[in-house]
Amino acid sequence: MHRIGVFVCHCGTNIAATVDVKAVAEEMGRQPNVVFAADYPYMCSEAGQNLVQDTIREQRLTGVVVCSCSPRMHEATFRKAAAKAGLNPYMVEIANIREQCSWIHKDKVSGTEKAMILARAAVAKVQLNAPLTPGTSPVTKRALVIGGGIAGIQTALDIADAGFDVDIVEKQPTIGGKMTQIDKTFPTLDCASCILTPKMVDCAQNEKIHIYAFSEVESVSGFVGNFSVKIRKKARFVDASKCTGCGECVEKCPMKKVPNEFNMGLDNRKAIYIPFAQAVPKVATIDPNYCLMLKNGKCGMCSKVCGANAIDYKQQDEIIEEKYGAIVAATGYNPINIDKFDEFAYHQSPDVITSLELERLMNAAGPSNGTLVRPSYLNKQDDHNAHPKKIVFVQCVGSRSTCSEKGAKEYCSKICCMYTAKHAMLIRDKYPDTEVYVFYIDVRTPGKLFDEFYRRAVEQYGVHYIKGMVGKVAPKADGTLDVQASDLISNEQLHINADLVVLATSIEPDKTARSLATMLTASMDTNDFFTEAHPKLRPVESPTAGVFLSGVCQGPKDIPETVTQAGAAAAKVIGLLAKDKLVGNPCIAHSDELMCNGCSSCEKVCPYGAISYEDKEFRQPDRTVAIRRVASVNPAVCQGCGACTVACPSGAMDLYGFSNNQIMAEVDAICR
């Protein structure tokens, strides 16, 4: 027989003003098996908790109901208090008479009535509660970081710094990501590679960090603390352990006409290549789409000149399997495809470029060795027309737009206002004879020293900021561009004869993020950004336990924010890996094998992949043995959502702590 205590909280006037707490306590005292019922001003205070603990001891309570705020607030508080008094913490139920009652009712009569109903339901439920003990699972003390950009690099360095092994999987031949392509960084205007490449080298030299470059995650199984990941090491056709990165092969390769993705296709590279001088690992890679040897079997020049004998035309993709305790998604972003933005004449004129292309044009390692030239004059840089005299920047190209059919995004890409100000300022600084116009919807520059930076572009460097959007860019016969725009402040239509138009294109999550999210069973929003476990309070954790988020894959951010978040993700990973064992949540699903049909309904609806099937032998009543397919729940993966319990046709699936019977008892109590 149960002995239940009911504790009704006033929460100051939060509850007591709308609910007659004394009446609730009295009414609960009359419920079956309730041996104690009292009200108290602040149940969560130390005195309130002591009341609960003393009553548990004195009244030998077997169950406790606290009528107070949402269980999200103080369920843990009261469970701990009960445990201290010797009661299993899962024998405590909370009736939420604040958020779900007093806060939404104005009238005390109806508020009190509802509080009584909610309390009655909790009392009915607690009668069916059973003591629960959480299970534990071991932790593999190694982390996987997917993506080797600045986010992944920073996360990996921080995890390694704490003494844990960490692997970086990067799909490109080198780590470094987008930041390698950026010339200068705002708001300090220091050189991006000068601050990035030391970190890349740190990664390479750190004994705790292993880099799988030119590799991709093939599949993920397992659960927090115990992930098993298959990684595909793509064939480079170069033995990375032998290659010294001398570059002799690149020098001699006859296939010169391969668009160089590192320079955004503004110049060419060879079929065998090292993306850039500071690449990590500094290993050559053969591009099988262009290599004459791989395509036609004729050439073999690189193999002939390689002193290290590293070229291997027969190299195959290799799949390796590793175990990890935590996984960090750091898959980053790409500028959107602007093929459908015909109005900007991106495909009609080489002198309409994206901001990332401008970064390469202004970079010393770029196609023009750092001299700003119009792309149409890249091969005749000495021409007096090569240098652009009038440059128009267009902001929000594909951002803050509802034209989803063009590939535009509704969100603000966040970084464009600042990098456009940076570009404008750098150009005005280096080429003071250049006129620079920036068309904007709003200038958004919150952040430390950010607005000052933008003001400097306007006030000190004389950049013309014009509120309004560019409607059309029309290439003219003389090679210049007619930019047609509206100035919303002076309310006039403008025609600017520009030499160069730079489009601040929106950014979007890398395309691989979607398939990765499926593998990780991590959730995504409609824009394919990873969703965080809580937008404010758990911003670097995915709702899937053991999966963490670093960098732009979670939402648009600049480098300082990315590094901050990367460090935060690392801190969470370290916190996880530092544990020897993980304590699970005991409120998880379990399957009654005697009732399970093995129909797979539960497996289909499980969002966490926690359910698997096995063929088991069962002794039948007639003493024969039958083999049946039955479900089993992995207790470390199950999050206790209960989707399986409603999908199960036979009722074999049930949830500890929220059993079908408990829920029916609550419903019955409410309807009584």
Partner: protein, 324 residues
């Protein structure tokens, strides 16, 4: 029929199968029952396939396919949907079953004949067009079409969706929507009329469990109505409304999995049109989530087991509650 027996004998003789699941006569010659045949002699003696062989054999394969040896089963178009659905639910071991598809032109429903006031039936013969009914009071003939139950009159498909080999020619899926005509009639009632209709129909229920026991979707190892922990086992005894709930709970349990084979109504000794409840759900699922036929294949994900962003909102479902 002889072609089926000959082929079954061949497969038994060459060791492809060890047993044959088919039909034989029950207590009356028109009362057909499923049967398992182990030898050529047994087949010759009692194997039957005619216009009265309505029973859906798929459900029997759950148990039979788990026994030792391989099975030959003859499946009508209707039955192949149930077979596929059970494959999807991992209930039938496919590798132990050899399926021969057999054609069906609709099965005679004895209750439909009895409803026409014909009594004392001793046997029924059919030539495929005309049905001759021998009774204690003399012979009666009528066109076969008049002897079909609702299920066969509004046949959903004469196409076999799964088989290893086929006897005769495969038919076509029937999408004319005729099978939902009676459901629409019910939908057009007021809630009170509809409540009255079902209270009246379900009041005839004697809780014999025939509908549950014959239903291929009702194949749980331990039915919730037999499970003392389910909380509903004894509810039927509380009052007549709770007793009616048996059918509503059962129909919810098979929603999205019911292939509309109509066995529930066929076996009901009280002639309750139980299949109309299931058809209502099938119609709703089609309208809410797009056309879906359970058992059409053994792989696809059922709408009630899948979530997509364009699923309709509960409010839409609620607002379609019926005409007030």
């Amino acid at each position: 029929m002889q072609e089926m027996i000959d082929r079954a004998k061949e497969l038994l003789a060459d060791g492809t199968v060890d047993r044959v699941v088919g039909w034989r006569s029950g207590e009356f010659s028109y009362d057909i029952t499923p049967g398992v045949f182990r030898s050529a002699e047994e087949l010759d003696e009692s194997f039957i396939y005619n216009d009265l062989c309505a029973p859906n054999l798929s459900k029997y394969l759950i148990k039979e396919s788990r026994k030792e040896g391989k099975l030959l089963v003859f499946l009508k178009p209707c039955d192949t949907y149930s077979f596929n659905q059970l494959l999807k639910e991992h209930r039938i071991l496919r590798e132990n079953v050899y399926v021969i598809a057999v054609p069906c032109t609709g099965k005679i429903d004895v209750d439909t004949i009895k409803d026409k006031g014909i009594k004392g039936i001793t046997s029924i013969e059919s030539d495929g067009e005309t049905v001759t009914i021998h009774t204690l009071y003399g012979d009666k003939t009528m066109p076969k079409a008049e002897t079909l139950g609702d299920k066969c009159r509004t046949c959903k498909s004469k196409k076999h969706v799964v088989y290893d080999e086929i006897i005769g020619e495969d038919g076509e899926v029937n999408n004319d929507g005729a099978r939902f005509e009676l459901v629409e009639k019910l939908e057009n009632m007021t809630p009170d009329e509809r409540f009255e209709f079902w209270r009246n129909e379900l009041s005839k229920c004697i809780r014999c469990n025939a509908c549950r026991n014959v239903c291929p979707a009702c194949s749980c190892e331990n039915c919730v109505f037999d499970n003392p922990n389910s909380g509903i086992q004894q509810r039927a005894a509380v009052n007549s409304f709770e007793e009616n709930m048996f059918h509503l709970i059962r129909s919810f349990h098979v929603a999205g999995r019911c292939t509309d084979c109509g066995e529930c109504t066929r076996v009901c000794p009280q002639n309750i049109p139980l299949h109309l409840i299931n058809r209502k759900y099938i119609k709703d699922i089609n309208e809410f989530y797009g056309d879906y036929q359970a058992g059409e294949d053994a792989m696809s994900r059922a709408p009630l087991n899948a979530y997509t962003f364009d699923d309709c909102e509960p409010g839409i479902v609620y607002s379609r509650g019926g005409k007030a």
